[in-house]
């Protein structure tokens, strides 16, 4: 009895500490997180649509999902490199990499879309 009550208390304590730690992150990182969330949400919509209608132009489906997943991955890379706790390279260089990679990604997407 006491152990169950304490595990429930532990989960609640963990959740609260996560929320307060996240509230402390800088605003630009939160903007990147929002962007990643938007990309994943778009990918989920496409997968649900394919599950209902069927995979007829499969190349279009793959292209759509790849664009969402690719932007999410590139945004996560940008978030890692821009975070002030890591001093690997200057944030301008990170942003330039991000833009170039996105250009290549969208070129591939437009060709594969059909």
């Amino acid at each position: 009895m006491a152990r169950e009550k304490s595990s429930k208390d532990n989960a609640q304590a963990l959740f609260h500490s996560l929320r307060s730690a996240y509230a402390a992150t800088p605003v630009n990182l939160k903007i990147i997180d929002l962007y990643v969330g938007f990309a994943v949400f778009t990918a989920l919509i496409q997968v649900v649509y394919m599950a209902t209608v069927g995979s007829f132009p499969f190349n279009s489906f793959l292209s759509g999902v790849l664009s969402c997943v690719g932007t999410a991955v590139l945004a996560v890379c940008l978030r890692i490199q821009v975070n002030k706790e890591f001093k690997d390279l200057p944030p301008e260089r990170a942003f330039a990499d991000f833009v170039l990679c996105n250009l290549v990604l969208h070129l591939v997407i437009m060709n594969f879309l059909g």
Partner: protein
Amino acid sequence: MGKSWVIFVTSILILLPFLCNSFSIETPTDHRVLVLLDDFAIKSSHSSYFNFLKSRGFDLDFKLSDDPKVALQRYGQYLYDALILFCPSVERFGGSIDVAAIINFVDSGHDLIIAADVNASDLIREISTECGVDFDEDPSAMVIDHTGYAVSETEGDHTLIASDDFIKSDVILGSKKITAPVLFQGIGHSLNPVNSLVLKVLSASPSAYSANPKSKLSTPPSLTGSAISLVSVIQARNNARILICGSLRMFSNRFFKSGVQKAGSSTKHEKSGNEQFLTEISKWVFHERGHLKVVNVKHHKVGETDEPPLYRINDELVYSVEIYEWSGKSWEPYVADVVQVQFYMMSPYVLKSLSNDKKGLYSASFRVPDVYGVFQFKVEYQKLGYTSLSLAKQIPVRPYRHNEYERFIPTAYPYYGAAFSTMAGFFVFSFVHLYNK
């Protein structure tokens, strides 16, 4: 002298085409008929039938069957368009005619009438077997019917039978119904049931049998009942027509004029049905009825008029043919029940009935199936008594070209939207990220 000779030769050469008045594709009715007889008494005893033929415009050439000068062809060309064999007891033909010559004559599209009789020779039996008809093996057998015989004062052995079991075909027997029964006295034959080209025109009644009337029956007869055919016709695959009859006396003046009363029935007919029956069936045998020709096989895309060399899948096309029937003097439009066209590649992908405009033009419009390959337009028309039509025209069908597909697929619109929305999102995000303080 030389000048007048030149004028003579040129005038002959100019007149020569008009002297050739023979059977041709354009006028399928036969003209010159060779009639082979056992003896010339048949010419006078069967004169009604021959006069009927002459009145239809045939040139009859009467010869004895063992005349050494008789010949069907000379220098590779046939001298006659049709052959009538009224010689049931011939053992060997004279001249250059034999079984092979007669079969070749039929194979080249000419018509034949054979009349056998009791004690028919082996030669006549052999010719009939080649045509698909088997006479009774006993040479002196006749068809006897104790319930369907013709009532008469003299003959008591019931070999003179009155039959009205006709085939139901207006094209073979004419549109006027034959009311009086037909008198028959002779041998019967049987047909192979597997053979689809022979037809029983006059069958014996179920109580008939084939046996020698003068001797006692020791074994049951082999040919009995309605399996016995008295008069049969064969329409060969090249549309040559053959009439085989087991009684030469059917064609005689005596039978044509005599009255008939069938045993068991009280109606006494003044005139037998022989004349009407034989004249109508002779008209059919000599191609005055039921002879079809097909012209103008055309196909094109809906909306165009010229014939393309190939079609694409899912094209709409129109197929049309014109069918005419020979009426004895001219080609009349043929009005049929159902003529079908198949779009065929190993099996028919499309089977459509052609619609008729009552002037001989049959057309149908359909869509090319979603399969590419080499197809055929096939029309197979076989109706009882009419010439069989078998047309096939090959046409290739190609798949879509790469630029004939639809440009944007409607089911993929969400994916297009997602790709463009990520691009727009990236653009907006980069501005927000750069100018965020």
